[in-house]
């Protein structure tokens, strides 16, 4: 019997929600890492029992947690959960994210006031396990950089070609910081990776992370005087269907965008959306032209229009959108849905999930036609990921 596991990161801990393939009755376990911010947690496509977690705190810094049993137990990779006897510390350093200072130029980026500012590690925003190897995993961090571990998260090395790109000194933080928040691996080409940074834009590597290319042509941002600016765009999230790795959909600060040539050119597909500001975007598991966004009123008011929570679905790859609201709040709803807080399962009737800053996680077991809350009163949801088990 198939089953679904929903991994929910919140402001105050992690939760694991499980159901059978009907997705009607849910079991909620957690909080794990209670009191800590869980920016993201994601399972390995190659081993569903392997789950990685980004656990952060303004007081205590960054931790990486790992489960090898589907979320029942957790440990910092390579470290014991109990005190250890001497001699000496272990060799694993799962929480160390040290920028590669050997590469140049890596020393500064642009600060809000236009001056140059040193790169300072703050937290891991997004974790992306390899599609084929449970021990290989990528981490997108703030200040913007990409790290990789090939030993199950015990040690991390920066792929410094990204930060060493010639535009690095011009990257500027967005209001939420300057982080790599999107990492997309190409199932058909292991050398190709897409990433996105607030507020630098989207980038692509075709050589496994050695070198990177900005892929922002066609993006228009009102706060950028140069309409053809190579970088500087506030990309909120990017989504791809695995079967069509050259087609990407983007929720930008404003505008929903599409590319059919791996980011070489983008065009707007906001169409009839009531507002094209938002954060989350995702693609149906079986219909590459079906995508989902959650329109948010504006960059000044981060909540749904008119207090009605609505997912919008396009079955035409953009431009033509329909509101989906059955089972969602009709009034007085003033939550946000953050960039990593939407996901889909791969069951025959595709399930769609999203979490809100009000602590609700909503699920649809029929591609978005009908919705119901799985839980209503979690801490603010930062991320939602889904694992589908056959």
């Amino acid at each position: 019997m198939s089953s679904v596991r929903v991994l929910v990161g919140t402001r105050k801990g992690a939760f694991v929600l499980t159901s059978d393939g009907k997705r009607k009755d849910w079991n909620v376990s957690g909080p794990f890492f209670a009191g800590w911010e869980i920016y993201h947690m994601k399972g390995s496509p190659a081993d569903p029992n392997r789950i990685y977690v980004s656990q952060t705190s303004g007081w205590f810094g960054q931790l990486i947690q790992r489960s090898d049993d589907g979320g029942k137990t957790w440990h910092q990779p390579g470290l014991p959960n109990e005190a250890i006897p001497p001699p000496g510390p272990p060799t694993a350093m799962p929480n160390r994210f040290a920028y590669d200072t050997a590469a140049k130029p890596l020393t500064t980026h642009q600060w809000y006031d236009g001056t140059q500012h040193p790169w300072e590690f703050k937290r891991v925003w997004h974790i992306e396990p390899s599609l084929s190897d449970p021990d290989t995993v990528y981490a997108g961090v703030e200040d913007a950089a990409l790290f990789r571990s090939t030993d199950g998260g015990e040690n991390w090395q920066e792929l410094s070609g990204l930060r060493g790109h010639g535009t690095g000194s011009k990257w500027t933080p967005g209001a939420g910081g300057m982080g790599v928040h999107t990492i997309i691996l190409d199932a058909t080409n292991p050398k190709r990776i897409y990433i996105a940074i607030s507020a630098a834009g989207a980038f692509r590597t075709d050589d496994g992370g050695e070198t990177w290319k900005p892929i922002n042509k066609g993006l228009r941002s009102q706060y950028i005087p140069d309409p053809d600016a190579e970088i500087g765009h506030c990309v909120h999230h990017v989504a791809m269907h695995r079967a069509r790795p050259d087609v990407l959909f983007m929720q930008k600060h404003w505008d929903v965008m599409r590319t059919d040539d791996a980011g070489e050119h983008w065009r707007e597909v906001s169409g009839n959306l009531p507002t094209d500001f938002g954060f989350a975007i995702d693609v149906h598991a079986h219909e590459p032209e079906t995508l989902y966004v959650v329109p948010i009123k504006s960059d000044s008011e981060h909540f749904p229009l008119d207090g009605k929570l609505r997912v919008y679905r396009s079955r035409t790859g953009g431009n033509e959108w329909e509101p989906l609201g059955k089972g969602l709040p009709e009034k007085d709803c003033y939550v946000n849905v953050l960039r990593d807080a939407m996901a889909v399962d791969t069951l025959d009737d595709c399930g769609v999930y999203f979490g809100t800053t009000g602590g609700q996680v909503y699920a649809s077991a029929d591609s978005g036609d009908n919705w119901a809350p799985i839980v209503r009163d979690l801490p603010a949801v930062l991320s939602v990921e889904v694992q589908t088990m056959a």
Partner: protein, 112 residues
Amino acid sequence: MQDGSEFSQGTSATQVRVALPYHLRNLARLEGDVLVEVSAPVTMRSVLDALEVRYPMLRGTIRDYDTGQRRAFLRYFACAEDWSLASPDAELPEAVSSGKEPLLIIGAIAGG
């Protein structure tokens, strides 16, 4: 209180009592204060070094991995005095190095 006395590091070692904030106690699966064996001289650096050897899951949570600098929102107190800005190599008060008084590591009241 967790007893770390089996981790003797020589005849000049002494037991220092460390009080950790709630989240770090949870991370290290501790209840109450922890005793760590520290070789003289007893300083912030030697106490934290010993603590991190015994509890590697705490590495990076109190001090930066590479620079060794105290994390911004943590403070160190010993015998009712703030040692946060003192040299990490300054000897701690005898009451701490003898285990009579705990070394306090506390989370600064910040963040709302």
